[in-house]
Amino acid sequence: MSSRSKTPSIPLDRPVTWEEWLRGRRARRETSQQVAPGMTRRDTGPSDRRLRQFFHGRRGLPFRPTEEL
């Protein structure tokens, strides 16, 4: 069994536990980056002004690198 096949899923028919959700984050991020490598948060949006003011010019906190998830 590969490590990916052990990744907890976000199920349809029951809640995902906090621990399962945390353990699945890295695999989900890797999958996302595989198919959308350039994806980042939008440069602009309806709440731009308040976000940039609050997050010192950015629209949110910096994301954790995949290897740290």
Partner: protein, 208 residues
């Protein structure tokens, strides 16, 4: 929820520097506090996509819609959010280093269950990934090409194809075909494209 518990939760959330985990914790706390008053919230939009894909997409706000009741007085919103030491309102508040937006009633067509995350302070309800996928495909095509929406749709399709998020593909196909979306060819094309890239059998070939 006791005031002391809320204070400890807010301190934990404020100290968390991981934006996705921080948003999930805040969604959990907000959901719990509203639920105590009989109000059910659902995480929607980019916040929901982030909780489902970890795609490093979300900005510094958490978007909720109301599941029930369909409306909530401004007084009640402000009263509940005051429990969380929130600033601002009546539709958007600053809480523990993020913004919380309460957008209005949930307008969804999906028949699959809301996804549920047992967060540290209470269950978070997340809008169905089937609806998010079809919605993002629509936005990626109309009114004109939108690459950011397309990337979001590709990430949702990919985590669904890999089974990292359980997706009901028959429901995806049905939603793509309802008049409100009407994007069956675009949906089939995008899912096929991502399935081919991941070398996974396209579930839409056999769905529905």
């Amino acid at each position: 929820m006791k005031a002391e518990t809320v204070r400890a939760a807010l301190a934990d959330i404020a100290a968390d520097t991981d934006p996705t985990r921080k948003a999930a914790k805040l969604a959990s706390l907000c959901s719990a506090v509203f639920r105590e008053r009989g109000i059910e919230l659902v995480v929607v939009g980019g916040s929901a996509i982030e909780l489902l894909t970890d795609g490093a997409y979300t900005s510094g706000d958490v978007d909720f819609c109301l599941l029930r009741p369909a409306a909530l007085s401004l007084r009640e919103r402000q009263g509940i959010m005051s429990q969380l030491a929130a600033q601002g309102g009546p539709r958007s508040w600053q809480v523990a280093g993020l913004f919380v937006d309460l957008l209005g009633p949930l307008e969804g067509l999906a028949r699959t269950p809301l996804r549920r995350l047992e967060g540290p302070y209470g269950v978070v309800q997340i809008v169905q990934p089937e609806e998010l996928l079809v919605e993002r495909i629509l936005v990626s095509v109309y009114p004109g090409p939108n690459l950011a929406a397309r990337d979001c749709a590709r990430t949702l399709a990919a985590v669904g194809l890999r089974g990292e998020v359980q997706m009901d593909w028959a429901e995806v196909k049905r939603l793509a075909g309802v008049p409100e979306y009407g994007i069956v060819p675009e949906c089939e094309s995008l899912v096929r494209e991502v399935a081919d890239e991941l070398k996974i059998k396209n579930p839409l070939d056999s769905a529905g």
